[in-house]
């Protein structure tokens, strides 16, 4: 109750100070260096015109930001604009009345952003079934491999030849261990990197119904032969201390930074932090794959955040939101954001702009992420994963994987259990959102957007 009262207070104060300019409240999850970059962008927008003023508020982690925004929205005091991570996408999409689609906000505000300008894998993830943007993709990343070049040199390995496939890993780690590296390989975001990306990277289904993009009746099917093999291999590496589990989020970064682990799979946006804190020479490379799987590597999966417009504000305010979104979506802004942060350029134009400026000649590592995403055009299996209650499903996967690393559960059983437990949640989410479906939402969406 108390936080709600505080919210009301803060808002009352905020409203009091805004007299001439219309304020646009924007809640985000960008801390540290990323938050500073974001604020600089916002300031430029505020200085570019006089009618609107965007006020940002850092609400903590992605999870916290979403929680706070939902709670405020329930009380009718939500922000105009909120940054939501990819896991929350289905949650934001399901109740249509809570969110104002970005395409609608833009067209009513007299602005235009073409969904086709975005990278295919990005646009399709945040679009409805007719290909219209529901949210503005903003900070998108994808996992890549980071490796300690100094450790490679010490181990007598070629620092320009990081392992390309998973099969090349043991040999490399063996050499590294002989040279005194204690942990070999670790990862951040285990569910995202080890399961979700592995299915997309090998063009396989994570869930039915196009990984949930095709409808709420999706079923988790990630307990495949490939995945069991992958997890079983990692579990044997864990026993041999070739692979070290660090935690459910970005704890692996610290291990890599300490020089403990020489190989790390992490989001491309980890680059900023690694570059700032690493006391050694490190390199970036493409995410490893299995070369005996046909069609691999396909393309990797996106993660990160998009900007969602919440319902319940006045038309004049939405005009300001539209202006701000259009400002952020400009190619030169996108390019700058990409170069400064390590997120991928979300539009082709921003990518071209960056490439032509010669940026990648100086920083070749920063191109891997975008190349990975563009490697092949998205297929039914790889357009993205959008599931109800995905936060909880991620947690289940994390839990079951931890049992594997601990040696208390065989890989196949853990994956089967994870899928089964997750499916219970999916059925529940489906029932919740179908039973009282809003009139404008068709009960079932059978057709999907065909992309070329």
């Amino acid at each position: 109750m108390i936080p709600r009262i505080c919210f009301a207070w803060l808002l009352a104060l905020a409203a009091g100070s805004a007299s001439a300019q219309q304020e646009i409240r924007f809640w985000h999850a960008m801390g540290g260096a990323l938050g500073e970059e974001l604020n600089a962008f916002v300031q430029r927008f505020n200085e570019s015109q006089r009618e609107f003023r965007v006020v940002t508020e850092h609400k903590g982690s992605y999870e916290d930001t979403l929680i706070v925004a939902l709670a405020a929205q329930r009380e009718g005091t939500g922000p105009h604009l909120v940054q939501v991570y990819e896991v929350g996408t289905a949650l934001m999409m399901a109740p249509r009345r809570a969110v104002r689609p970005v395409w609608q906000v833009l067209s009513e505000g007299g602005e235009a952003i073409d969904a086709k300008a975005f990278l295919p894998a990005v646009a399709s993830y945040f679009s409805d079934n007719s290909g219209k943007l529901l949210a503005l993709p903003f900070n998108i990343s994808t996992p890549i491999l980071f490796y300690n070049r100094d450790a490679f040199r010490r181990a007598g390995l070629d620092p320009d030849k990081p392992p390309r496939t998973w099969y090349e890993f043991p040999k490399v780690i063996e050499a590294l261990k002989d040279a005194g590296v204690s942990c070999g390989y670790t990862t951040t975001w285990p569910s995202w990197v080890l399961l979700e990306n592995t299915s997309t990277w090998h063009n396989q289904d994570f869930a039915t119904r196009d990984n949930g993009l095709g409808g709420l009746d999706a079923k988790l099917v990630f307990n495949t032969h490939l995945m069991v093999r992958h997890v079983a291999m990692l579990s044997s590496w864990a026993r041999a201390t070739y692979f070290t589990y660090s935690g459910r989020r970005v704890e692996g970064e610290a291990r890599f930074l300490k020089g403990e682990c020489a190989l790390l799979t992490a989001a491309s946006s980890s680059a900023a932090e690694l570059r700032r804190s690493a006391g050694f020479d490190f390199g970036e490379a493409q995410l490893p794959y299995y070369d005996d799987i046909k069609g691999a590597p396909h393309h990797s999966l996106i993660g990160g955040g998009a900007l969602w417009v919440l319902a319940g504000a006045k038309a004049a305010e939405y005009r300001g939101v539209a202006k701000f979104l259009a400002f952020l979506a400009k190619p030169e802004m996108q390019a700058e954001w990409h170069q400064k942060t390590g997120y991928v350029p979300v539009t082709r134009a921003a990518y071209e702009l960056t490439r032509n400026s010669g940026f990648y000649a100086k920083r070749p590592g920063q191109e891997f992420a975008i190349q990975q995403l563009l490697l092949n055009s998205p297929t039914r299996e790889s357009r993205g994963i959008r599931l109800g209650d995905f936060q909880k499903i991620r947690l289940i996967i994390d839990e079951e994987l931890e049992k594997v690393w601990d040696g208390t559960k065989p890989p196949k059983l853990a994956l089967d259990d994870a899928a089964e437990r997750g499916n219970v949640l999916l059925r529940r989410f489906e029932a919740d959102h179908r039973a009282g479906a809003e009139p404008e939402t068709p009960a079932r969406t059978l057709r999907r957007a065909h992309r070329k």
């Binding site: 109750m1 999870e63 979403l66 929680i67 939902l70 929205q73 329930r74 949650l91 399901a94 109740p95 009345r97 809570a98 864990a238 589990y245 660090s246 935690g247 459910r248 704890e251 610290a254 291990r255 300490k258 403990e260 209650d389 936060q391 909880k392 947690l395 994390d398 839990e399 079951e400 931890e402 049992k403 690393w405 601990d406 208390t408 437990r421 219970v424 529940r428 919740d432 959102h433 039973a435 009282g436 809003e438």
Partner: protein
């Protein structure tokens, strides 16, 4: 011997307890009633759509084997926390009671951790035991112990128990010390003259006389382990690895706040409320009989 205060005014006693009653109503009864209401409904994350589902939330919970597993974890956790919390502080209190010089300094130091917030206590111990940078991890490694609570469930449990106990010792210590100091010295001296060993004196005289305190602390510590240890868990293991430290109250938080499942989470808190009521009643009915006031 009745020690009742009699008010002459009819309304004054009510006026005096009114603030406390008001606080209890607003901060305990109202949220509890809300929890019951939410537990019977299903709603989406934005609160746009609310439907009455009866006991469906409860049915889902009891079909979930992981929820049932969480009971076991909670039972183990609270027994460990209450037992060690009470045993260690009793030991410390008896020691501190015997110290003559510098007693004040010892007591202050022992009471100190109580001022630390649970989350801070959790972070503190998490640092000390951190798998790759912790001081104790380093020492343990020297002894050949593979300490890694990030994947080892029993070690994670040990970590949260240590943090929770450490935080609660001060509180228990205070009560035990007060209890010890109210035991007449003559009783102990008489026993000593009769030739009872210190050990025997403790078990036949001191401990029975402390039993009201111990009983009170047992109730308080169980409730503490059930509810207040949330901060310790959230700051360290967050219920993992696997679900080895996923105690009921943490699950309530996770499902309700992080996963936005208000109905399921409220159903859990209603069950939790019920458990604590039953436990407390049981403690007063059955254990209190054996307590000698």
């Amino acid at each position: 011997m009745e020690k009742r205060v009699v008010f002459r005014s009819a309304w004054l006693p009510y006026a005096l307890v009114a603030p406390q009653i008001a606080i209890t109503l607003v901060f305990f009864f109202w949220p509890a009633a809300q929890a019951v209401w939410y537990s019977l409904h299903l709603q989406d994350a934005f609160g746009l759509k609310v439907q009455f589902v009866g006991l469906a939330n409860f049915a889902t919970l009891f079909k979930d084997s992981n929820y049932l597993a969480s009971f076991k974890v909670t039972a183990l956790f609270s027994v460990l926390v209450a037992f060690f919390g009470i045993a260690i502080s009793l030991l410390l209190a008896t020691m501190a009671d015997r110290v003559l010089r510098g007693a004040m300094a010892y007591k202050t130091l022992l009471i100190w951790p109580y001022a630390v917030a649970p989350a801070v206590a959790g972070v503190l111990w998490a640092f000390i035991f951190a798998p790759s940078i912790g001081i104790l991890t380093y020492i343990l490694k020297g002894w050949g112990v593979d300490w890694n609570w990030i994947i080892k469930g029993d070690q994670a449990m040990l970590l949260v128990v240590i943090a929770a106990v450490w935080k609660q010792i001060s509180y228990n210590f205070l009560f035990f010390l007060a209890g010890l100091q109210s035991i007449p010295k003559s009783l102990i001296e008489a026993a000593a003259i009769d030739g009872a060993s210190p050990f025997r004196r403790f078990w036949t005289i001191v401990f029975p006389l402390l039993s009201p305190t111990t009983f009170f602390l047992l109730v308080v510590n169980i409730v503490y382990a059930f509810f207040d240890t949330f901060g310790v868990i959230d700051a360290t293991t967050q219920g993992g690895p696997g679900q080895s430290t996923n105690i009921l109250v943490y699950k309530v938080y996770h499902d309700g706040v992080k996963a936005a499942d208000l109905g399921g989470s409220s159903a859990q808190s209603v069950i939790l409320m019920f458990i604590v009521i039953v436990l407390t009643v049981a403690q007063f009915r059955f254990i209190e009989r054996k307590v000698q006031y």
